[in-house]
């Protein structure tokens, strides 16, 4: 192949690939917006208080793994204990951190060590002790102390201790809306003829939001630009992406920060995979695969309501750590379940969802990065038209901004969380800045994630958070 023909083929490939990616995102967005409209119309007649007084409401165990959360754990647990729901318990799993979380919890909730007898369905790190409160006001709370084994290991321990048929896995530092469990319960009641094995929810950005007593009091966009651009990213992903996959019955990922699972199926499928850092996605894929292979009818549902609020990285370093881990998690899940790739036995999952994740979620950043590097080389060699490059950059930038504005428009017409005009203006500006401010760094992080995976890196990486009360802490850092 001559250099000229290589350049032509390369340009054509990049052009066709980016057009396909753009079309795919657009199709998903159209499906999402349509589904959201129907969902909101139907939901306007829902009175969630009926669930509060109902014996039919599903019994839920909230699993909250914690690692070095001492500074905020007491408040965060209090927030979980005051949710509006009657049939639930909270299991906090202290994953062998080196702070004083257990002592603080014991003091705050009058905990005392209790004997435990569990069906050890998973291999986990050693369970040191279990604690219950002597105060009946906290009878819903169970605290487990275990040796460090990572988030997946902590969640598996939590599953073994859960006494209810449904488990809601949350990050202990997330803020749940008070009616989160009421909203989550509805699909289980509504589809009582079908087995719902998992329900995912939207995760929203809580940086700079006002939080009092474990509840969200005022929603504001973050003061810093980096987390603000992540709001745009989260809105695109949750409002314009996942809703469509739910509608198509091809949802592969439920956020680790907020996802509910059928305990029995989770156990039968083998629980959380301790060998991956993408344990949230991996479990969903494995549970779905289990149901298909055992020819059982099932459903995975998704709720677009803003029920869970989390703190996103405020520095490029932390963001890079997070995104490298996400890339490794995606690679590990796709590799573990490579059998499903274009396998008609797995229907839409095999023929569309998995290929979409391979080509559009995993490969796109790599192809984009390669394209940018080669383009720079061609420009330096003077063998490519600057005019076309200019057009192409505008083409890509224009699409990125338009798609972000569409996400903001969807948020405005649906949940309308950012009430003040000044808040919304800040987000609009972020939509224009994001493609040049964070995008290239995220491409680099995805590339480095690949390198780390090839090198066999298994650590979570430091995930430093500012804390809702400006408390610095490190979660799941350097956990195996």
């Amino acid at each position: 192949m001559t250099l000229d023909s290589f350049i032509v083929n390369f340009n054509q490939f990049i052009f066709i690939f980016s057009t396909v990616v753009m079309c795919a995102y657009l199709i998903l967005a159209i499906i999402s917006v349509q589904s959201l409209t129907v969902y909101l119309k139907e939901n306007s007649f829902v009175d969630y208080e009926v669930v509060l007084s109902s014996d039919l409401a599903p019994r839920i165990t909230i699993l909250a793994p914690a690692y070095n959360e001492a500074r905020t754990i007491v408040e965060n647990v209090r927030s979980l204990l005051t949710l509006q729901y009657n049939h639930y318990e909270v299991v906090v799993i202290n994953d062998g951190g080196n702070d004083h979380s257990i002592e603080l919890l014991c003091q705050a909730y009058q905990l005392e060590e209790v004997k435990f007898n569990i069906d050890k369905v998973f291999q986990t790190e050693k369970i040191v002790a279990a604690y219950r409160s002597t105060n009946t006001a906290f009878k819903k709370l169970l605290v487990i102390d275990k040796k460090n084994g990572g988030k997946a290991d902590a969640l598996n321990v939590g599953i073994m201790f859960a006494s209810h048929p449904y488990i809601l896995c949350v990050d202990v530092d997330c803020i749940l809306s008070k009616d989160a469990l009421l909203v989550l319960a509805k699909p289980f009641l509504e589809k009582s003829e079908t087995r719902i094995i998992a329900t995912g929810g939207v995760v929203r950005v809580a940086n700079s939001c006002e939080i009092k007593g474990g509840s969200l009091v005022e929603i504001k966009p973050p003061k810093k630009l980096l987390p603000r651009t992540q709001i745009i990213e989260y809105l695109r992903a949750f409002l314009l992406g996942r809703m469509a996959w739910y509608k198509l019955d091809g949802l592969l990922i439920i956020s680790g920060a907020f996802g509910m699972f059928d305990k029995e199926i989770a156990i039968k499928a083998g629980g959380y995979n301790r060998k991956t850092v993408g344990e949230d996605m991996e479990l969903v894929v494995r549970m779905r695969r289990y149901m298909i292979e055992h020819k059982q009818k099932y459903q995975v549902t998704y709720l677009p309501n803003p029920l869970c609020w989390t703190e996103v990285p405020e520095t490029f370093k932390t963001l890079g750590n997070q995104r490298r881990r996400w890339t490794r998690g995606t690679m590990e899940t796709l590799w573990t379940h490579r059998k499903m790739f274009f396998n008609p036995r797995y229907k839409l999952l095999g023929m569309l969802s998995i290929p979409y994740w391979v080509f559009l979620e995993y490969l796109t950043p790599l192809i984009e990065l390669l394209g940018i590097l080669l383009t720079i080389i061609f420009i330096m060699l003077g063998i490519i038209s600057i005019k076309y490059i200019g057009f192409f950059i505008l083409f890509a930038y224009g699409y990125a901004v338009l798609f972000s504005i569409l996400a903001l428009l969807t948020e405005e017409y649906t949940f309308h969380q950012y009430k003040k005009f000044s808040h919304f203006r800040k987000l609009l500006v972020a939509a224009f800045i994001e493609p040049v401010y964070t995008h290239f760094y995220l491409l680099y992080a995805a590339f480095m994630g690949n390198i780390e995976e090839i090198q066999g890196v298994k650590v979570w990486g430091e995930m430093k958070r500012e804390g809702f009360a400006n408390v610095k802490k490190a979660n799941y850092s350097n956990v195996k």
Partner: protein, 276 residues
């Protein structure tokens, strides 16, 4: 080849068209965003503006012992009653008060609802082509005890619509109008009644007129399994322990399934109530 590629006027045209389209759509989207924000703010301001007048009208009727005629003669009512947003706020406030109060207060509100022709606003919704408007109409009309719509509600439930939310609103509407007796419509109901609908029904019954409670064993004869399950739940709710033998028989005869599970739960509940 590269020269050919460079000279592709089609590509340039495509890219410029796409960029123009993005810019145009972007501008339209931003304009829509601003319009949405402005109209939302305008509506909110208008609703806030009418709230004191609405409160004066309704509080005069309910708490200051003014007659309906006197209330309708109030300046706050006379100067605003033709305005659409005022009517909307008035109806919403009267509806909320009706939910929170009972007895004489509700009688006064029912009369006010008819006399002020707010009933026509609800009727227009009830006869709308949009199912969500119909649902809102059902809620309003049944809350204000408009019994004339009962036949229409039954039609919605049995034949007229396949929309599950509309059907649920029809059942709940019938319960609001007739109390527990409103459930009789389910005796010949053929569609599945899922747990969400049952949760709503049981909740509505807890807050409805519970005089003349029927014998719910009649539901156990239904060929619709979900209606049988509802019957078992109602028997437990109203502690109709006289049916224990029949339920026990059902428990023994039924294979695995929802009826057997619910029969067991109902028997347990009846036993615990009797023991208690």
């Amino acid at each position: 080849m590269w020269t050919t590629f460079k000279n592709l006027g089609g590509l340039e045209l495509f890219l410029t068209s796409a960029i123009t389209l993005y810019v145009s759509l972007g501008i339209v989207a931003i304009v829509l965003l601003f319009i949405s924000r402005s109209s939302r703010n305008y509506k909110e301001k208008l609703e806030i503006k009418y709230t004191p007048a609405v409160e004066t009208v309704l509080f005069s009727l309910l708490f200051f012992n003014k007659s309906l005629e006197e209330v309708l003669a109030l300046e706050e009512y006379k100067s605003n009653y033709k305005k659409k947003t005022f009517k909307k706020v008035l109806l919403a406030s009267a509806f909320k008060l009706h939910i929170n109060y009972s007895g004489d207060f509700n009688e006064k509100l029912n009369e006010f609802y008819r006399k002020t022709k707010l009933i026509n606003v609800s009727m227009a919704k009830f006869h709308s082509e949009d199912w969500d408007q119909v649902c809102t109409g059902i809620r309003e009309l049944t809350q204000f005890n408009v019994h004339d719509i009962e036949p229409e509600l039954q039609k919605y439930l049995i034949t007229k619509s396949t929309n599950t939310i509309l059907q649920l609103e029809s059942i709940l509407g019938l319960i609001r109008l007739r109390g527990v007796e409103g459930l009789s419509i389910l005796l010949n109901y053929k569609k599945p009644v899922n747990d969400w609908v049952q949760t709503n029904i049981l909740h509505a019954i807890r807050h409805s007129d519970r005089t003349n409670v029927p014998d719910f064993s009649i539901f156990l004869k239904s060929k619709n399994e979900s209606v049988v399950v509802l019957g078992l739940r109602l028997i437990a709710m109203f502690n109709q322990g006289k049916h224990s033998d029949l339920i026990n028989e059902m428990f023994m005869l039924n294979g695995l399934g929802r009826v057997k599970n619910q029969a067991e739960l109902t028997l347990d509940k009846l036993a615990s109530i009797n023991l208690g």
